[in-house]
């Protein structure tokens, strides 16, 4: 291999600094969440303790964070499943032009670029005019879908742009019905990318704030609860909570990435028997 040019080292340093910029603050609050009981919001550390994590389990100190965590988790799963199903169906439909497909495509783009507060405000107004109560599982759920679906659909468009149609044709030539082709050929091939869609669906919902603000009703989701805390909590318990939910996010991301990695490996293993049988 040819030697690295000098620019490589400059750019590598830049990249390292960028990663430090990305992760440094998060790591800092993770360290500070282990402050001693008399420690403040910044350095120096006043001893090391689990005091602030223990505080998270006391209702008076932090309010209903476990309830809101539960709601966020359930909502995340609801949004995830819906995003995967709707995106796959939409992705399949968009492979051919159909009446209104261009308008629908621009509607998807609008859903992505529209300032989040408009969704919050608009959905809130619609519900109040219709005499319905806003609730995280109805209005909140729908509002979050306007954020996760565009990502899911764009991923599916990218996947189907790279999809080799001859597999389907082969299946059809061998007599498979269109449902069998979908079930046994198309879905297994696009399977690993569905894990990616699921990852976006869950994490974007779990952390969603602006679109849920006016649409979740009287029961807060976790990001709303955390934002409420920023105005009246001035102890490292905020950092402890931040660290805990970030760790949870990392675990979920790790889980999805592992799933994607193992499924693509399994596929690579299973897919190599071409030419070995029927000799």
């Amino acid at each position: 291999m040819e030697p690295r040019p000098r620019s490589f080292y400059i750019l590598a340093t830049f990249f390292g600094l960028f990663l430090l910029f990305l992760y440094g603050p998060t790591i800092t609050i993770a360290i500070l969440s282990f402050q001693g009981p008399s420690g403040g919001l910044t350095f120096p550390m006043n001893g090391v303790s689990l005091h602030w994590f223990r505080d998270l389990f006391e209702q008076q100190a932090v309010g209903d964070i476990w309830g809101s965590f539960g709601r966020s988790f359930v909502l995340g799963l609801m949004v995830m499943v819906t995003t995967v199903v709707v995106s796959v169906m939409g992705g399949l439909a968009f492979r051919k032009r159909f009446a209104g497909s261009t308008i629908l495509f621009y509607l998807i783009i609008t859903s992505l670029v529209i300032p989040s507060i408009l969704i919050s405000l608009g959905v809130g107004l619609v519900f109040s005019r219709a005499g319905l109560q806003v609730h995280w599982s109805t209005s909140g759920f729908g509002s979050q879908l306007t954020w996760t679906l565009p990502f899911g659909l764009l991923i599916m468009f990218a996947v189907f742009n790279r999809f080799d149609k001859s597999y389907e044709e082969a299946a059809r030539d061998l007599g498979a019905s269109s449902w069998q082709t979908l079930r046994h050929v198309v879905l297994p091939i696009i399977g690993p990318s569905l894990i990616g869609v699921a990852l976006f669906g869950f994490t974007l919902s779990y952390d969603e704030f602006a679109r849920t603000l006016l649409t979740s009703g009287s029961y807060n989701t976790l990001p709303l609860e955390i934002f409420g805390m920023t105005t009246n909590v001035t102890t490292p318990v905020l950092y402890a909570l931040g660290t805990l939910t970030t760790v949870f996010s990392f675990l979920m991301i790790g889980f999805f990435l592992l799933l994607a990695w193992s499924s693509s490996r399994r596929k690579a293993k299973a897919g190599t028997d071409a030419g070995k049988g029927m000799v």
Binding site: M1, P5, S7, F8, L11, A12, F18, L19, L22, Y23, T26, T28, I29, L32, L41, F43, V85, G90, A93, F94, K96, F98, A99, S101, L104, F105, L107, I108, I109, T110, L112, I114, P115, S116, I117, L118, I119, L121, G122, V123, L125, V126, R129, G142, L145, T146, L149, F157, N161, D207, L214, P223, F227, T230, Y239, G242, T245, T246, S249, L257
Partner: protein, 287 residues
Amino acid sequence: MTQFPKNSSASALFMVSPLLVVLLLFLVLPIAMIVVVSFWQATEFSIIPAFVLENYEFLFGSPVTYKVFINTFKYALITWGFTLVIGFTVAYFLAFHVRSLTWQIALFLMCTIPFWTSNIIRMISWIPFLGRNGIANSALMSWGVIDEPLEWLLFSDFAVILAFVHLYTLFMVVPIFNTMMRIDKSLIEAARDAGANGAQILWNVIIPLTKPGIMIGTIFVVTLVMGDFITVRFMSGSQSANVGRLISNDIALLQYPSAAATAVVLLITVLIMIGVLLRFVDIRKEL
């Protein structure tokens, strides 16, 4: 077996029906509602269906509106500049200087993972850095650069821009990296064989071919910053305003018609900007 076009169109409609329902109920209907409400009248206690232009008259008659819109554009422009330079450099390093695909994927994932974590916590995590007794001030004082703590680090425009860059640079990295990975490496070799130096290759070959990615990144960053209300409120300590905060303040005061009028103007502004940007890129082709 041939499929009838009519039949396939009906099946396509069936397949997109759930998508259509969600978008109609939670995107189209709410926007329509906002437009309608922006013509309503508000008293101190309630809002009254009507068709009046007073919300818009007030909005365009107030000097605050123009100041706030200019401030919003300022945030968008500065953030765009920083995210573009940083994002391009990072993507360029990943695409052209990292040689193994495994490393490329690993480092790329390192850049994207924060996207899947909470924005609010990522904002909170700047407090220990930027506070009056924070890490930045202590470090600068111990190095003798400053004698007194800088007051403008936290709760200032500086903090707002810093947070925007921190939150949104990866929206530049991802699409730019994506287009760079598709550049045929033989084009670069050809340029080198023809006698171009590194800077010339970058300027005349790589940047033009990366334009679609830059445009998509720009759309993301500009719309996210234009529509933001929470970063500005949190990082400026409620001292700066942008359009999103104007809307959210009206909402907090239950002045829905006024909030709706501002929202309509913001939406039109954003859509015009996106419309212009989309002239330079065909998103469906770039996916």
